[in-house]
């Protein structure tokens, strides 16, 4: 969701359907959308059931690594300029840091308390009250932070969505 220069600013501003969407921007947009949908499904345990919940969670962990890797430039750049940047950028950085910590701990604790996915792989771990509580708490915090994280980049999302609406596949790079 981080609108780094590589994803949006470098895109040439061309009018109407001729607007080209960089492959990188398309990847960012769809991966972010996939992460949002996957998290929404994973959080809705009653809808997915425990097995799907766990497998989506593990997939979410892999997708999160890719998402972070794609935006690592933004992380480094913003961290370096943290003191000179304005309040908004600092707020976004803080939200992203909290989200990283919560989501990482949520997925890690989810793996440690797994009841279906790990046993299916032949791994069994003893029950832990600490990790179960950690999973519940970090999941709730992640539910709060995910929409904030996405909404803080709403202009980028709207911009790319508009270009998708006007986009013709033959004209893409």
């Amino acid at each position: 969701m981080n609108a780094s220069p590589a994803t949006s600013v470098e895109d040439p501003p061309v009018a109407g359907s001729r607007r080209r969407i960089l492959a990188r921007t398309r990847l960012d947009f769809w991966l972010d959308a996939l992460l949002l949908v996957a998290f929404t499904l994973a959080y809705s345990l009653g809808f997915t059931g425990i097995a799907l919940h766990e497998w989506i969670g593990i997939g979410l962990g892999v997708a999160l690594l890719v998402h972070l890797t794609l935006h690592w430039d933004w992380v480094i750049r913003t961290t370096r300029k943290l003191l000179s940047r304005g309040g908004r950028e600092r707020f976004i950085w803080l939200v992203n840091l909290l989200l990283l910590a919560c989501m990482t701990l949520c997925i890690a604790s989810g793996i440690l308390i797994s009841e279906v996915a790990l046993p299916q792989l032949g791994i069994t771990l003893p029950a832990s009250f600490f990790w179960r509580q950690m999973h519940d708490t970090t999941a709730t915090l992640t539910l709060i932070l995910v929409p904030i994280h996405a909404a803080l980049r709403w202009r980028w999302i709207v911009g790319v969505a508009r270009r998708f609406a006007a986009w013709r596949p033959g004209r893409s790079r």
């Binding site: 919940h53 029950a127 909404a151």
Partner: protein, 108 residues
């Protein structure tokens, strides 16, 4: 090559967070994470929930699979996400409008 370098940095950052979590678990007496056992009795809510599961009030489907009939959870998650996003977007749009108005006033 750049992707691999960045991926290594990300894995390291994630490992640090998980390591801190393990340390927290150890300090809190919840074990090292892998071998942690139940140290205190479950909460009243957990016992109540277990009772509801046993009574069949709450359906548990360990085998999983989407249950379209049980979409209440999904709807609730979507509503929470949409409400929070709406608040952030409203505040952000208001701030943007305010800034533009101020800039226009200073130029005019």
């Amino acid at each position: 090559m750049k992707f691999v370098r960045h991926l290594a940095a990300v894995v390291l950052a994630v490992a640090v967070i998980v390591g801190l979590g393990m340390l927290w678990a150890h300090v809190a007496g919840g074990g090292t994470g892998i071998g942690g056992q139940l140290r205190r009795p479950p909460s009243r809510e957990a016992v109540q929930r277990l009772g509801q599961i046993r009574a069949g009030v709450i359906a548990v489907r360990p085998a999983g699979g989407l249950s379209l009939a049980d979409s209440g959870d999904l709807i609730r998650t979507c509503v929470i996400e949409a409400a929070l996003a709406a608040v952030v977007i409203t505040v952000s749009a208001a701030r943007l409008r305010h800034r533009r108005t101020r800039r226009a006033a200073s130029h005019g």
